[in-house]
Amino acid sequence: MLVSYRWICEIAGFSPKPEELGDKLTFSGLEVDELQTVGVGFDNIVVGVIKSREPHPTSGKLHCVTVDSGSGVVSVVCGAPNCPGPGSRVVLARVGASVGEITIESREIAGVPSEGMLCSEMELDIGPDQEGIMILDGETEAAAGTPIDDALGLQDWIYSIGITPNRPDALSHRGIAREMALLYGKPFDPSVPEAAPEGGDPVGKHIKVDLIDQEGCPRYAAAVITGAKVGKSPFSLRYRLHNLGVRPISNLVDVTNLILLEYGQPLHAFDLDRVADATIVVRRASDGERMKTLDEVERTFTGDDLLICDGERPVAVAGVMGGIDTGITQETKNLLLECAYFNPSMIRRTSKRLKLASESSYRFERGIDPNMADDVLRSTTHLICDLAGGTRAPGPMDCYPVPIERKRVALRPGRYESVMGYPVEVQEMRRILKGLGAVVTGTDHEFSVLVPTNRPDIEREIDLIEEIARVVGLDKIPSLLPRIQSCIPDREEYEVGMRVRQIMVSLGLEESISYSFVPEEMLVGMGLSDRVIKIANPLNSKRETMRTTLLAGLIENLKRATTRYVGLVRQFEVGRTFHDEGGELPLEVLRVAAIMNGSRDSWIGEDHGPVDFFDAKGIAGAFIREFTGMDPVFEPVTDLDYMHPNRALRVVVGGDDVGVVGEVHPKILADQKLGRGAVGFEVDAMKLWGMRKISVASPLHEFPPMVRDVAFLVEEARDAAPIEDALRDACGPLAISVSLFDVYRGKGIEDGKKSLAFSVVYRSREKTLTDEEVDTIHRTAIDSITTEFGVRTR
């Protein structure tokens, strides 16, 4: 909210330094985001008095005037249609003045010399009016040459204050002024508004109010003014509204806006002559009922919306916005001022449902003071009659069947100390509560506090404790370290995440954190859109679906990197995937996935080629071994839409399916406009963690190893692993390692075949093995393989 320093000082009756006041407000809970000085920087811009006015010799649209600048008479060419005649006061920018972007110089305009410029509000940035130049007659009697900021009292400081939802009292200048008095320890005693002149029929003759819905509208007060004349508000009022971000419109409307800003009470002004049957009915809408609001939008209502109606139709959405048919116009003479208190929740629901928020609904939904209608109507009618003429119809018009009373709340000063950790004098507590407008009785051990109705947020002891704490200042509170009870750590998932990260980082991959929501079409393309969770109100279609796989985000990273000409991506991610299992909340699964593309590490003159399936398989295997102490088993898989049909394997650990490793399906990559060759894996981290084995160190071998190699000539289509497994079995317990070390095709090998070369390490824990023993075992093993697989050695 924007707050005028001068205005709150006028209300509070004293004027501290603007910056100091800003700090005090911030440290009492009204955070000043910005403090802006306005109405300064008008060097050489002064009150000028027109001495003569002649038409321009050649241009029909221009006038040539002479102006008393206070330091001599200057000639000025003026193009404004409202250029006034002799005796009028205007705003003169003398030579050397800066007006907006331009610096005023002596120059010829259409052949006539001009030594200055007559300015409009808009040009000086002190109002929105750009129809013509400012004419100060009636606004100031200041002599020619008086600086314009002095003549019009322009200087002010505007605070931009972030008002938290618990402080509806601070949504007005009176509310801020009250806070200001409290913070400076001054009494708050604002002036009581004068009464408006009364005349004509009593208000009851002009209007009848039928308050049907008392739940939605606990209070409906009103006043009637007759014989007013719509016109322009004086500059001082328009300037104040302009600085506070409100566009001046006409005296009648400007006054209701000014009162809103002063008291925080939204008012609605109806053109009384357009209210049918001189009747106001406050009731719920019927489902489907319609009305066009002031913004010229046709609105449709439900039975939960509160409407203000006349004898025939709805005339306002209560507390939100008026109807277009009964608003104030340039012709309005008689007006009905509504000053009501509406149910905050209902106003909020209506405002949300209609997606229509206003200064009025903003305040009603936070809760205004229901008991300020008398002062507000007195002040409003006085101001309108003062500016627009007319008289107030005598007598009260106030439907307030069940007045809202002040709440009584108990406060134990001792409780304050135990919650805040330091004591405040009882007298100081009483002073602060009284400064809030509360009445404090009771004992020094337990106050009985009667809370003012402008503070609907104060209902409990803790609310009063907070009020005292914020006024005293949180910086007064000492810092203490608490005695913390030891606990048995219970943070498995957190630690699992960290452990996964450590291993993956040590394998040379960088961690990615990508959004948990992905485009649904991507999951559909991957065949992973089953049991998917969708966001009801997504930011856009790219972020509408919760991921069921971490690979989706990693592929998006790959795409982003590629479009930015980054050729190499080696990333992993640890995070949750989301799956609808029919429960209230979805299943969230902690997974780890990786993706890689581009070349392998190589050095100058070397080329180790691009990464392929085996890089992914190697990293997945290394991760699982390190993470669980178990060897993964890789099994064939064919039913995956997102992996290459012949280059993907299911990862199985301890007999349980834990994930997939493979080359990403070229079709998925093509969908993202990516080339082939990205590989990756994804496994279930918590499942793996549950399988981990305790690490066991075996005794180290003391006797020397004997190494024997063997190569088998096999059909191209035959896989290596079954032969390796069979060989391991055949070589027996003395073979501590059997590993494939070469796959050879080409010279010396017939077409359609390949040579698989294995290295077997024999080693005994009891003795040094002899050549003869090893050769015997080895030969027998080879024979069993050639027989079992029908292959020969090479």
Partner: protein, 346 residues
């Protein structure tokens, strides 16, 4: 045979060995040459066979000459081999290598800057005796709002623009605060936890990401006061931003704490003078905090007369952006550009 002649022959053999051995290039050649002199059929060995035929008195003298010749040859062979090894070693040492070529760097993995910062934050509190709790990222409206004292139809709900799964029922958690509720419902008192994790809001601009990370803290026990909140948070800020960091507590509003405070630190860039980072204020808002609202405690079955507590929440992204330089937009953190991720060291 004249003993002196034999002695002369031995002398000549040894001289010849000396002459030949130094021209040889490998150890094997030297050994072969040595064998052709001293081996079974070597020239010295053959000559030695004549020794027995010599008269007794000269046998001793000639025998000594044999020993000397054998020693000379053996030692010359040894010297030659040593010389050879030294020459290879010298050549190995003298060989030129272009050391200006780049090193072979293995590719290195790194944790995401968010993870690094989150870990550091959590570590401070764990060191103080807090445990770590996590919760679901998709939450119920009840835990995300209701139990945290956000009434239905209350403007406090506008403070957090929400991504809903089912409006009014389930949603992407807007803060880590529902973990407070889950922990208080599940764990015995006293409670001291921090809860790191992803949270979501319906915001997307250079200063707001629809997903970001928070760390929540909660301590509930008998006799916990606002002074303890200040003590713990000031200790935390000193650990993360340095011992000299200045901080200030400003009253604020959160539905689930009362009294509530926002905490600012003196701008780490300008040290309070005012700069772009702090929008000229000299201060940076760093976290929100307060005493757990009695209504929240009652809602989870804790007696607020007996127990009090404090809670706080801080933005990990914000702290990452303060700790590292050059993160011009929060969204960069979630684009995972390899060039960006490479920039961060612990």
């Amino acid at each position: 045979m004249d003993p002196q002649e034999i002695i002369n022959d031995l002398q000549k053999l040894a001289d010849r060995f000396d002459d030949s051995v130094n021209a040889l290039a490998t150890e094997q050649q030297i050994r072969d040459l040595q064998a052709s002199f001293l081996g079974k059929k070597g020239e010295v060995t053959m000559l030695q066979k004549l020794l027995g035929k010599l008269p007794g008195e000269s046998r001793r003298e000639v025998g000594q000459a044999f020993n000397q010749a054998k020693q000379r040859i053996t030692s010359a062979a040894g010297d030659a081999i040593d010389g050879l090894v030294n020459r290879e070693a010298r050549e190995y040492l003298d060989r030129h290598t272009d050391l200006t070529l780049p090193g072979r760097a293995p590719s290195m993995g790194r944790m995401h800057p968010i993870t690094t910062v989150m870990y550091d934050i959590v570590d401070v509190f764990v060191s103080m005796g807090f445990d770590v709790a996590l919760g679901p990222e998709i939450e119920t409206d009840l835990y995300n709002f209701g139990k945290l004292n956000f009434p239905d139809d209350h403007p406090a709900r506008d403070m957090q623009d929400t991504l809903f799964i089912k409006e009014g029922k389930t949603l992407l958690r807007t803060h880590t605060s529902p973990v407070q509720i889950r922990t208080m419902l599940e764990k015995p008192l006293p409670i001291q936890i921090v809860a790191p994790g992803a949270v979501y809001r319906r915001d997307d601009d250079p200063t707001h990401s629809p997903m970001f990370f928070q760390v929540e803290g909660l301590l509930v026990d008998e006799g916990v006061s606002f002074a303890h909140l200040k003590g713990v948070l000031q200790a935390f800020l000193a650990r993360i931003f340095g011992r000299d960091v200045r901080s200030r507590f400003r009253p604020s509003f959160f539905p689930f704490t009362e009294p509530s405070a926002e905490v600012d630190i003196e701008c780490i860039s300008c040290k309070g003078a005012g700069c772009n980072l702090c929008s000229g204020t000299g201060w940076l808002e760093i976290l929100g905090s307060g005493m757990v609202d009695p209504t929240v405690l009652e809602g989870v079955g804790i007696d607020p007369e007996r127990y009090t507590g404090f809670a706080f929440g801080l933005g990990v992204d914000r702290i990452a952006m303060l700790r590292y330089e050059g993160i011009s937009s929060i969204r960069l953190l979630y684009e995972n550009d390899p060039r960006f991720l490479e920039a961060f060291r612990r």
